[in-house]
Amino acid sequence: MSAIYILLSISILVAVFFFIIFILAVRSGQFDDSYTPSVRMLFEDELVKEQSQSTNKKTKKD
C-alpha cells in the first residue's frame, strides 16, 4: 500500500506544477490587461492577408 506515497507525491507535483505556471503568468503581466488580447487575437488573419498581398504586388512588379 506504499503506492499511496507515490500517488500522493505525483498528485502534489502536478498541483505545484500548475501553481508555478499561474505565478509565472501573473508575473508576466497576463492579468494586467484582460481586454486588449481578446481583440489582438483576431488580427492574426488580417496580418497574414496583408503580407501575402504585399508579396503578390512585389512579384507582379518583378
Binding site: S11, F22, D32, D33, S34, Y35, T36, F43, E46, L47
Partner: protein
Amino acid sequence: MIKNDLCFHCGDSCGTNTITFKEKSFCCNGCKTVFEIFSENDLTCYYDLQDSPGAIPKEIQGKYDFLDQQNIIDKLLEFSDGNTQVVTLYIPHIHCSSCIWILENLNKLNPGISSSQVNFGKKNVRISFNSSLCSLKDVVLLVSSIGYEPYISLEDFKAGKDNVNRSLIYKLGVAGFAFGNVMFLSFPEYFDVGEFWLERYKHVFRWVMFSFSVPVIFYSAQDYFISAYKGLRSRILNIDVPIALGAAVLFIRSTIEIIFDYGSGFFDSLTGLIFFLLLGRFFQQKTYSFLSFERDYKSYFPIAVTKISPEGKETPIQVYDIKKGDRLLIRNEELIPVDGILINGNASIDYSFVTGESETVSKQSGDKLFAGGKQTSGMIEMEVLKSVEQSYLTQLWSNDVFNKNKQDGFTTLTNTISKRFTIAVLSIAFIATAYWLAVDSSKAINVFTAVLIIACPCAIALSAPFTLGNMLRIYGRLKFYVKNASVVEQLAEIDTIIFDKTGTITTNQKSHATYEGDTLSTSEEKLLKNTLRGSNHPLSRSLYNLLDEHDIISLNYFEEHVGKGIEASHNDNNIKVGSAVFVGKTTDTNVLTTSVHISSNNVYKGKFTFHNNYRKGLSKLFNNLKKHYDLAILSGDNEGEQENLKKLLPSKTKLIFNQKPDDKLEYIKYHQSEGAKVLMIGDGLNDAGALAQSDVGISVSENVNVFSPACDAILDASKFDQLYKYIQASKGAIKIIKWSFALSFFYNVIGLYFAVTGQLAPVIAAILMPLSSISIVVFTTVSTNLLGRRLE
C-alpha cells in the same frame, strides 16, 4: 453615395472642401496625408476593421522640441539600455480595434521601432525602439502624424514609474491552490474514521495539509493580522480583529490536534476562510483603468514650454524651471503653465479646465493671464509673474486637504458592527469555558477554541465587499464611476448637497439667447447674419447658429476689432456688432450678463443676451433632492444668472456667487464643522479644493476620458438627471448589507450551538463556513442586481 460625403479617414462631414484621392473623399489635407502614409506602407487594413476610425492630425510644429532635452527624455523613458529604449505613451484617441491594430504595427512605418503593445483599458501604448535609428521625438512625431497624438503632461515628469501591485492576485492564488488541495486530502476523514488504511496513512495526509496551510496563514492572511494589530494599537476593534483571532486559533488548534493525534484539524476550513475573504477583497477592488481619481493640475500641465531668451532665441524649458521675469512663447492650443502678463499676440484664452466655462476670453497686451488657460488663436508671448507652484490656481494644492485620506476618518458599517460582535463573541467564549470548567474541565479549552473558530465573521466580512463591489459595477454600467466601495457608504450618509454652477448644472454650449430692443428688419437681420459669418469669435459663432437662414450676400466692407466687435457694410447700410461701447451705447444697464449689442446705420437697435443653458431635468432633480437634503449652489461667476436660477430651482436653495476656489473649500469646511455631511458636485480644477474637502466629491464630466479633477466619483454629464436615483440606490445598498448581517448572525447562532455544547466536528465547520459565505454572496449579488434593475 451618402458615405462619400463623410471623410474616409475620420468620419467627419467633408462639407464643401472635399479632397478626393484614390476615389475616396477626405475632409482635410491632414486626413488625406494619414491615408497616404497607410497606403504606402500597406496598412490600409486599418480601414477594414472599422469605418472611419481616425482622427485629424493636429498641427504640432515645434510642440515637441522639448523631447530633444536629455533630462526630460530620461524622465519619460520607462527603460533604457544602450540602444534599446522603451516608452509608454498615453493616447486618449484609442477607441476601437483599428486603433490597436495600427499602433501595434508601428514597426512597419518606422524600422527603428522594434515593437509596440497597446493596453486598451489604460489607453496607452508601450513602444520599444532603437535609439540609434530613431529618437523619442521621432516616435512621438510619428504617432502624432497618424492622428494619435500622445498626451504628455507634467505628471509624467517624475522619477520612477509606479509598479503594478499584483500581491492580491498572488495571495488569492496561494489560498485557492491550498484550499483545493486540502479539500481533497481531508475528504476521506469526513466520513470513514475507523477504516484500516485510513488509520495507517492519516498522519501523512494531515502533515501534507499542514504544509499547504502554512503559506496561507503566513502569506495570504498576513493583511488581516497586520490590520488587526494596527486596529488594536489605535484601540479600534475592526472587523479584522475577530478574523485574525479566528484564523490564528484555527491554525494553532489544528496543529496541536495533529501533533498529539487528537483529530484531523480544521485546515480545510482555515484555507477556505482565507480564500473566500480574499475573493471578497478581489471583487471589491473594481478599478477603472481608463479613469484616474487622483489627478491634480500636474495631469493637465505641459512638461515644457518655449522660452524666449533676451537675444530672441527660442529654447524649450522645463516647467518647474520657469522663473519670474522669463519670457514665454505659447503656441496655439498650448496651456499657459504660470501666471503672467501678455506681451504681444492675439490672446483668446479658454479657461474651461479651470472654470468649466468653455467660452474663450480675449486679452490685450498688458492683461494678466492665469495658469491653466489654453491659448486658442495663434501664438502669444508672455512674461512670467509667478512660478508654477505659486500661481493662482496651483497654490490651491498646497492646502492640507490634498494630503488627507478621506477614508481614514470614516468608520464603515462593518467596523461599527464588528466592535459589538467581537465583544459578544469573546463573552460567549468565556462564559461557555467557565461553564465547562465546572462541568467537564477536559472539554473547556476545546469549547473555547471552537467558539472562536465558528464565530469567525467570514460572512459578515463578505457582506460589504460583495454588496458594494457589485454596486460599483452597476454604477459603472450607468456611467457613474465611483472610486471605491467606501464612497458608496459615505454617499448614503449625505445630508447636504452643494453644486458648482458653470459646467456642472449648465452645459458647455451657449445656445440660448434672448433679444431686447427694437425689432430688426429683414434686411438688417440679413446683414447681421452675413456679418457674423465672417467672424470666428465664439459669441459670433453661437449667434450665427441661432439666427434664421438668409441668402449669402457679399459685404462691401468688413472689419473685426479684436476685443470690441465687428463692423460691416453692404450697399448703403452699415452695421456694428459687439460691446455696448463699441456700438455707441454708453450706459449698459446690465453689465453682469454676456450680451452682444447691435447698431444699424449708427442707430442703437438692441442686444442679444446669452443665458446659461441648464442641463435637462435640472428642476426635477432639485425638486426631488429638496425633500431629503439641504441644497446650495456655489458659483465662481457673478450674480448675472441669479433671477434665472431662482425661477428654476426650489426656493430654499441657497445661491452664493463670486466664490474663489478657496472660498468654496472654506464654505464646505464650515458646514462640516456644524455636523453636515457634504456632497460636492463640481467639474473644473477650481472645484478641486471643494471636492477634496467634502465628504463625497463628484465631478461631472462631458467626456470622462478627457477631464476630471481629483474626486471620489465621476458622473457622466448625460446622466446628471439620474443623480437622485443613484444616491437613493446607495441607501438601498446599505439596507442590503444590514440584511446580510442578519443572515450571517443566523448562521453564527447555529454554529455557536455546536461550539458551546462541545460537539464541533471538523466536518460541521467545513460545511457551515462555505455554506454561510456562499449564501451571503448569492443573497447580496441577487439583491444588488434587483436594485440595479430599478435604476435602469
